[in-house]
């Protein structure tokens, strides 16, 4: 009985964590629609649109389901997973659960950097997920995005906490 209770508590926590990660996965997919990448981000009209995950992967197979068969304009979306920031080649959106310092070297490339560590956006990351009133909210560092020639749509900005 005790075992069951403990396991139930464990499962509820995982459950909400999973839901949060599912919503985050769909956000990552949606960012592709609300951000403009410079034309030179793609080598050809059919080259893939890459969503990268650096380090621990909280989404699992779910994010593969989300992007299955999807395209950004003519670019098919693919998911790539990296152990090290140095492995990153052509990447358009990068999610990491690490702190910003782990990806600091990417700042001059047109990669939309997304994270969920507390100071991720304040330190120079572009978008940070945080939870408020049990819902996922966004914090956006507009300056960082602009420095990387990424144009974030006003519709997304309107819904986010923007830090200058």
């Amino acid at each position: 009985m005790v075992v069951l209770l403990v396991m139930t508590g464990f499962s509820l926590q995982s459950h909400s964590q999973t839901r949060a990660n599912q919503v985050k996965a769909v956000f990552l997919f949606n960012f592709a629609q609300f951000v403009d990448w410079p034309a030179n981000s793609f080598s050809s009209p059919t080259s893939p649109f890459v969503i990268g995950i650096l380090g621990n992967d909280p989404f699992g197979f779910y994010i593969d389901k989300v992007i299955e068969g999807e395209k950004v304009d003519s670019h098919p979306i693919v998911v790539q997973r990296y152990n090290d920031a140095d492995d990153i080649r052509n990447c358009n959106i990068l999610f990491t659960s690490k702190s910003y310092s782990a990806i600091k070297n990417l700042q001059n490339r047109s990669i939309l950097t997304v994270g969920d560590q507390n100071d991720f956006a304040a330190d120079g990351g572009m978008i940070r997920f945080f939870i408020e009133n049990n819902k996922i909210k966004l914090q956006i560092n507009l300056k960082a995005a602009k420095a990387a020639s990424l144009n974030i749509s006003s519709k997304l900005l309107r819904l986010a906490d923007v830090i200058e």
């Binding site: 769909v26 956000f27 009209p45 299955e68 049990n134 996922i136 309107r158």
Partner: protein, 633 residues
């Protein structure tokens, strides 16, 4: 058995842990907008909000980007991008816009709103498009619903609803400036600045002006219908708290229309405040108040119409246990009309002063019968000064699954009388029965519509979507003008009836990353005649094309160039005893633009296919070209 249960239990735990067997399927979650996504409670199951594309009605949306890429210079031209509307330019300053038939100069079956403010005039139930000044740059989208929407909206939503929605000040920060010069559109200039007072309060102020040249006659001579307009306004958006959004906006315009004898001035202004409170993600409240006034004068008699409207409207949405979405609201409109017609030997409105107050209340409930089947029932109740209480119920059913929506609806809508139906006299002074005259419509009642609709909307993939809507409309008690028995005194009556049917197709296709197509085709047919026992020919009430096609191409070229085309074809209009025949026409607008670092230089040609063409009546619309420089910082 116990062991089995335990195993089952553990299996479900395992499912949860892995994120399978849950209600957040990728497909469902992807359907949500970003706003909706932000409202998903991450540890509780919340209701699935409705997307616009799942609406159970014949809706076509024109985005601000579609408008900016079309080269349209005002709202009426922008409405050509929705082919479920028939748009005809009559003269330099007069446009006719209709849906599902009944197009004429006094067309009266559309409800048109700008940011929630109703803009059709209760003088005759139509929109004076030349008075509608909206900064096109700041339009977020125009929703065009063909078909009745009287249950949720007002008493004029018989054949369609046009909802023009402008961006919030938060989305229009910074400087926008444009100047243009051309042939038919002589000159245009616009300036807008958006700033913020603090993190919670954003504002914008703007001003614009244009001069438009005259149309021509078929022999090439110029008409005298050139005109100009200036307007200025503001919008303030205040995030009063995490639950309260407050906005306040206003506009003042003034212009001059030239006529053969003299100039006719017009002006108007409005102020609108809106308060939206989010009680929870399942419930919100909106309160809106506006004041609107217009004044338009007609040379040479200096007859004028002065209309003052104050409107209070409130709406409450909430959901009940995930299985129902309920919305209800009420509103009161105080309207004072001063229609001053000075030449009593001619046509006029009697009495000069009239209160046209309107009370409305509505309730609508959306039931989720199964995961994919919804039933939406509701009714509007309204009270007007002419006919008292009226009722506009509707029932809709929608089946929504896998990016597909199939819907059907039965709706009743009424077009309540306007001053032109009840108070129109020709001449204004009373005449004996032996002298031909028109003596108002004291017995005129509302025109009624019973509409049957069936529609299908499909988004096969991320790059394309299309919709088809069909309808069969039965109109009763339609306008007529008939003599009283044994006299030459005519009165406005409800002696006509009509049926109409048609099909509206619209599609969007992202061909390549840099090339997008929007297309639409509309087929329309109607039968309108006098009711048995009545003697009137109502054919002139509906100057409607049978086939209409629109195609818009939006293309980004290398080196910061853009090349865009809007083509349109309209079938001929038949001659009636009051209106001329109009030939079919195929014409197109083209836009070539160069963008660099916030500066845009555009060359736009309008109605390029021919030197000139006629869209309604006899005036000739010339080909037009203009150049425009825009700065956005």
């Amino acid at each position: 058995m116990k062991k089995l249960l335990l195993l089952l239990f553990l299996f479900f735990l395992f499912c949860f842990y892995n994120g399978y067997g849950q209600d957040l399927s990728p497909k469902e979650l992807k359907k949500l907008s970003v706003e909706e996504l932000m409202n998903v409670e991450v540890s509780l199951v919340s209701r699935t909000p409705e997307k616009l594309t799942e609406a159970a009605s014949a809706i076509q949306v024109i985005t601000g980007e579609d408008i900016r890429r079309s080269g349209a210079t005002n709202v009426a031209e922008a409405l050509r991008l929705a082919a479920n509307l028939q748009v005809n330019q009559l003269s330099s300053s007069v446009w006719l816009v209709g849906a599902r038939g009944f197009n004429n100069v006094f067309a009266n079956k559309l409800l048109v709103m700008v940011d929630g403010r109703t803009i059709y005039t209760p003088l005759y139930g139509g929109v004076l498009w030349e008075q509608q000044n909206v900064l096109l740059e700041d339009i977020d989208r125009i929703e065009v619903v063909s078909g009745p929407g009287g249950t949720l909206w007002g008493p004029n939503a018989v054949n369609g609803i046009i909802n023009i929605i402008t961006k919030s000040s938060k989305e229009t920060q910074g400087l926008y400036a444009s100047v243009a010069a051309g042939t038919f559109v002589k000159d245009m200039a616009a300036l807008r600045y958006g700033g913020k007072m603090n993190d919670k309060v954003y504002y914008k102020i703007y001003g614009q002006h244009f001069d438009r040249n005259a149309t021509e006659q078929s022999n090439g001579a110029k008409n005298t219908d050139a005109w100009n307009m200036s307007d200025g306004g503001f919008k303030i958006n205040w995030d009063a708290s995490s639950k309260d959004d407050i906005s306040f906006q206003g506009d003042y315009y003034g212009g001059i229309r030239k006529t053969v004898v003299a100039n006719s001035p017009l002006n108007g202004q409005h102020l609108l405040g809106k308060w939206n409170r989010t009680i929870s993600d399942r419930s919100d409240l909106t309160l809106q108040v506006y004041y609107d006034r217009y004044y338009r004068e007609d040379a040479p008699t200096k007859s004028y119409d002065k209309m003052k409207t104050t409107d209070v409207d409130f709406q409450h949405r909430f959901s009940i246990k995930k299985r129902q979405n309920f919305v209800w609201g009420a509103g009161y409109r105080f309207v004072k009309d001063d229609a001053s017609f000075t030449n009593t030997a001619s046509a006029g409105i009697v009495p000069r002063f009239k209160r046209l107050d309107l009370f409305t209340a509505f309730a609508q409930d959306e039931f989720f019968l199964t995961d994919s089947l919804r039933l939406i029932v509701g009714t509007k109740l309204l009270h007007n000064v002419y006919t008292g209480w009226e009722c506009q119920p509707s029932a809709r059913i929608a089946w929504i699954k896998n990016q597909t929506t199939l819907w059907a609806a039965v709706t009743r809508a009424v077009r309540t009388p306007s001053r032109f139906d009840v108070d129109y006299y020709l001449p204004m002074t009373p005449q004996p029965p032996t002298v031909p005259s028109v003596a108002g419509g004291p017995d005129f009642v509302s025109e009624k519509l019973l509409a049957y609709e069936l529609g299908y909307r499909f988004q096969p993939n991320h790059v394309s979507s299309f919709s088809v809507a069909t309808f069969y409309n039965i109109y009763n008690d339609v306008y007529s003008v008939e003599p009283k028995p044994g006299t030459l005194t005519y009165q406005i009556q409800n002696g006509s009836e009509a049926t109409s049917w048609g099909l509206e197709f619209a599609g969007n296709y992202q061909v390549m990353r840099d090339w997008r197509l929007r297309g639409a085709y509309t087929y329309f047919k109607k039968d309108i005649h006098a009711k048995p026992g009545h003697n009137f020919n109502p054919s002139y009430l509906g100057n409607d094309v049978r086939n209409q096609v629109m195609l818009q191409s939006i293309l980004d070229l290398p080196a910061h160039f853009q090349f865009d085309i809007v083509g349109r074809y309209l079938d001929p209009l038949a001659k009636t005893f009051a209106t001329a025949a109009v030939a079919a026409y195929l014409t197109f607008d083209a836009r070539l633009a160069y963008n660099l670092k916030g500066i845009e230089i555009a060359l736009v040609g309008q109605n390029l296919a021919k030197k000139n063409h006629t869209e309604f009546g006899t005036f000739v619309i010339p080909r037009g070209v203009y150049g425009k420089i825009t700065a956005r910082f």
